[in-house]
Amino acid sequence: MKRTSFLVLGLSALALGLAGCARPGDQISAALGDPHQGAEIVTRQACGSCHEIPGHQNADGLVGPPLGHLAERSTIAGVLPNTAPDLVLWLRSPQKVVPGNGMPDMGLTERQAEDVAAYLYTLE
């Protein structure tokens, strides 16, 4: 299972490399987690009811910030530097990072948060 996912990651990284015009977040994404899995978690967690997510079905919420070009943003929630570990931290416990903000703790596991981060970093 793990071996297969590494193989998939390797192959997709290779494919992206071959494509030659990788998007800003692609390299971080591939190393971080599985963007496809992340996209499914984003659907399951209903992120799109509060966030606009380009290319994601019915993700047209205007409650939180739009998530397009997330990889190019400088900060997360205005308080964390936009690094992969900080994005994972934010996704796992937004109420700990900014108590009282609108985004609830959704109980994501580390692995799930990494997959979601990997997906979010592919958004344009």
């Binding site: 499914e40 659907t43 399951r44 967690q45 209903a46 799109g48 009811s49 509060c50 079905q57 019915n58 919420g61 205007l62 409650v63 109420q95 009282g100 903000n101 609108g102 985004m103 609830p104 703790d105 959704m106 109980g107």
Partner: protein, 195 residues
Amino acid sequence: MSLSMPARLWLAWLAGLVTAGALGGAGAIVLIYSGLYDTTASTPHVPPVAWAAHTTMRYSTRRRAAQVTAPDHFTAAQVQTGLQEYDEHCVACHGGPATSRAPFAAAMTPTPPYLLDAARKWSPAELYWIVDHGVKMTAMPAWGETEPQDHIWDIVAFLEAMPKMAPADYLRLKAAEHAEPSGNGAPGAGDAAGR
């Protein structure tokens, strides 16, 4: 038109149409009885099905909500009672400001949305219609079957107010609500909450 087109061409066209219809019908029967279509909630809808279901629901709601007359405004008491109703019946599936849904909500397909943006996407009459009548194949109950009409309007009142509520205010009102039944709640708040 029919005069300029030879009869044989018409017949061929008709035969093609009938064949396409028959093939489509046979395909649908095979899809249903073969068990090939995946109805599990552990897999996502394929995008065309998700689109068709959601779009059908939107237009169906829009059409039927036209017969509902929404009040001009909602009172603070309605919002307060609506919050209580929401806390009791809705929050497990739909969450709230800074409040997550119950873990099982993420296991549902389609997954119930957070509703902080609902008032922007739906009119009060449409929200009333959805809460009152529910939505087929989504697990959204027809609350009008178990709740009185004024409770449904109270929930709509709260849905209209929720987007303008700071998460802290929502949590404070919710906590006040829970403190209430144990006796001497804040003066005045009892009128709004008690029914």
